[in-house]
Amino acid sequence: MRRFTLTVLIFLAAALAFAAGPATNPVDRWQRVPPRDHARSNPLAATPETIAAGSQLYRTHCAQCHGPAALGDGRKHPSLRTDHVRSASDGDLEWFLRQGDLAHGMPSWSSLPPTQRWQLIAYLRSLP
């Protein structure tokens, strides 16, 4: 039993050590995007249907943290209507959605089919 407890403690310590990554400066975020991903553009045309579908996805997956109007909560959950987000390429946003930022609470959305990630990006691009 003592050996098991020790194993559990080592496991948790190792997990915390791995997971506690360095703080990420948002300005640097897009610089970490691989060039091939950065150069990608949204394969979906920004039609009203695509944007409406992206809006539905936003309400389902994103609004709980970033707010219904994508303005964030002023604390942990950032606004998505910022120059920083607008300055990102489509490929940057798709890469970030796929990767997430697990150290800072943003889940990876790689589980969404690629088409839905692009629909979501079309919606984000439509925000004023």
Binding site: A19, A63, P113
Partner: protein, 300 residues
């Protein structure tokens, strides 16, 4: 069609969920999770979210009567890379008894905070369950259908303190999820390590979202299959006398906050149950943690 003795239990389960305080925040919800019953993918609970899921197994061992085993799961996202869970378990065997069989506490951690072609997740679980437990949350060692045929009065006398570890490897390839779990379980008292596996693949039936809210549309349906079974134990690392199952899966995101899953499993070896029907019903409460940790803006 389900056998009649199961209906009272199912009714109780449905009633339990009907009485839950559902509209904590009804306007949303997400559901990254796949409709697996045994396999885990690298999808973790979103930070601050609580998911309550009822998982019911219906089966009949060859030498016994039918049973229904229930595991109620409380899954909470502590961090984007760390999910913790509590299971409460019970079972009912018509013409025998209905009893609470124990609990499990489990943690899943993503050690690498990037999305990779194959994503590892570390899993560790403590089980405190009686021998009467019939939930098939994993199949390891030489687990057999005869274990499930012991009368409750005898089986409940044995308490099992076990540790289960898994190495979860999971990939999202386009719309597909492919997951492989390698399981090692140890009775903390006196038994050798037991090993098992679970492999799964799922895919949504439509990859594009609808521009309109919809419930019964293909994007909300996920289909797949899982294969799981035992690999013997440290004293007898062999496939002889091990149980293996193949189970098609169907998941339906009925509303943004509610997910239904169904899986008919088929035993592939003589020691496995011929069939096991699994039904899952899950509700997710978004940002549940922020109700208690509002000072920090909820989980982060």
């Amino acid at each position: 069609m389900l056998p009649r003795p199961f209906f009272p239990l199912l009714l109780r389960i449905l009633l339990f969920f009907a009485l839950l305080p559902l509209p904590l925040n009804p306007q949303r919800l997400s559901a990254q999770e796949k409709p697996y019953f045994v396999t885990y993918s690298h999808d973790l609970e979103e930070p601050g979210n609580l998911e309550v899921e009822s998982r019911t197994d219906l089966a009949r061992p060859d030498a016994s009567t039918r049973f229904a085993a229930e595991a109620t799961e409380f899954e909470y996202g502590l961090r984007a890379w760390w999910t913790t869970e509590l299971y409460l378990e019970g079972q009912t065997t018509p013409a025998d008894s209905t009893l609470f069989t124990g609990f499990r506490i489990e943690n899943r951690v993503r050690p690498i905070l990037r999305e990779l072609p194959v994503n590892p997740v570390l899993y560790i679980e403590y089980e405190n369950i009686s021998g009467a437990d019939k939930t098939l949350l994993e199949v390891v060692g030489h687990d057999s259908q005869s274990d499930l045929a012991v009368p409750n009065a005898i089986a409940r006398r044995t308490m099992q303190h076990e540790a289960e570890t898994r190495l979860i490897l999971s990939s999202n390839l386009r719309a597909w999820n492919l997951s492989e779990n390698f399981i090692a379980e140890k009775n903390l008292g006196h038994a050798p390590w037991e090993f098992g596996y679970a492999l799964g693949a799922t895919r949504p039936l439509a990859t594009a979202a609808s521009p309109h809210p919809c419930s019964l549309c293909l994007q909300n349906l996920t289909a797949g299959a899982e294969l799981y079974g035992g690999l013997g134990d440290a004293a007898s690392l062999t496939l002889a006398r091990t149980s293996h199952y193949l189970a098609p899966l169907l998941g339906w995101q009925a509303t943004p906050s509610m997910r239904l899953t169904f899986s008919p499993g088929f035993g592939l070896t003589s020691t496995a149950l011929n069939r096991v029907y699994r039904i899952g019903l899950a509700y997710e409460f978004d940002q549940f943690g922020s109700r208690f940790f509002a000072r920090n803006g909820g989980a982060h």
